[in-house]
Symmetry: C2
Subunit: 251 residues, 2 copies
């Protein structure tokens, strides 16, 4: 049976990432977690808080991938435009969701502050909710688009509540091995191995350690027996070059 | 005189970022450094090592932005396809650049290893070189596209060699201030301030510290006197809410 590939695109919304103020860490977390669920991140994009850009990106990603995950722009301030853009992207009205509103109202505040907080209850009319285990306002989803907070610990909490609720495909597994060899010492044979195992993906990542060239080789794919065969051949390649395969990891 | 905006798009090429193996740090460095030079990062995209995707992204970004910077995919292994894709994107032949080849040949190696290393000398025929102060093979540029290594310290070295060689526009300056206030306590007045100063960009970033809600407000724009006026109004807003403006920073 051919492995079914289930894909995702990630949209990171926020001027603060593009200005360099904030180091994004949501992409890495999403990539690792979604892969565990059998969902493969195929592309990620970082876009500013500009309505037309957010809308067109949402539409393009929703068409291109099985799932889309957005982070950022769902707070109560003027630069939080994600919910409105999602509604416009799918031609829906923005409504106040009673369940989010009720959660927000359960914590008392002055009327003006409450009115601002309730901006976080706005969702497109057909949206379902994404639980927020931190206790704050929920995220939401509409069609194949999952809208989450930008603050990493809130995003991670929202994502955890989606576990086992999304349809995953074949999980990507990995094998990795390191050797004190420069990439150029192995690139030809490595390329030949890649050609013989086209359904696995071999990545080669050079680094230096203690003043010596080293390369980390990562093999990824859905078929674990193919990964093991590829790993065996790569270990033979390392030994043929007079070095020892180090730090073998199975993922 | 109206401020000239000079724009950039960033293309991060590499399966390792999309799999979650590697945390990207190049975007943040590029954003901060380019901003110092008066070049504003408008969008960034992370794409896999797939030829058609790399080519179409290069073409789209080259058309959309004044400058495009790519990171990743210029080593000697089978997954290093950036140079070839750049050549194809601009319909040029891939040649061996004599200056890069000469640098590579200056370090002796077995014939087969040398042949692999020389793959790093491949550039599109009209390419100019980007110096590599780490001593490794150079990066290159063609038209408005600057092709750099993915390894952060090499990318940073290559970028540093471009300083004062690119045409910058008005530099973006910033002011920032923090207060122990939740976003909802200030969002309405903050939105009104943003409306009165449409040419500055006010970002609101909530966090919690010592169990209290806090918000970091960042004002960005090219006109420093407008930034100062906006900062003054935001500080008044914070004081009117009974709090003290903290950690004021000028950038």
């Amino acid at each position: 049976m051919a492995a079914v590939e289930v894909t995702a695109g990630i949209i990171i919304i926020g001027n603060e990432i593009l200005s360099g103020r904030t180091q994004d860490s949501n992409l890495k977390h999403l990539a690792i977690e979604l892969n565990e669920w059998g969902i493969r991140v195929k592309q990620a994009i970082v876009i500013p808080d500009i309505e037309a850009t957010v809308i067109s990106t949402l539409q393009a990603y929703s068409n291109a991938y099985d799932y889309v995950f957005t982070t950022g722009g769902i707070g109560p301030t003027h630069d939080d435009i994600t919910a409105e853009c999602v509604a416009k992207a799918f031609d829906e009205e923005l409504i106040q969701h009673p369940e989010i509103a009720s959660l927000i109202r359960s914590r008392p505040a002055e009327p003006e502050v409450m009115e601002s907080r309730l901006l976080m209850a706005r969702v497109p009319q057909s949206a379902g909710l994404i639980d927020n285990p931190t206790g704050g306002p929920q995220g939401f989803y509409i069609r194949n688009v999952y809208v989450m907070a930008g603050i990493p610990f809130v995003m991670q909490a929202m994502l955890s509540s989606l576990k086992d609720k999304l349809r995953g495909g074949a999980r990507i597994h990995s094998r990795s091995v390191t050797a004190f060899l420069g990439e150029s010492q192995i690139s030809r044979t490595l390329g030949a191995i890649q050609s013989r195992f086209p359904s696995v993906d071999i990545g080669s990542y050079p680094f230096s350690k203690d003043g010596r060239y080293a390369t980390n080789l990562v093999i990824r794919g859905t078929d674990e027996s193919l990964l093991d065969q590829t790993l065996t051949e790569i270990c033979q390649l390392i030994e043929a070059a007079g070095e020892t395969p180090l730090d073998i990891e199975v993922g």
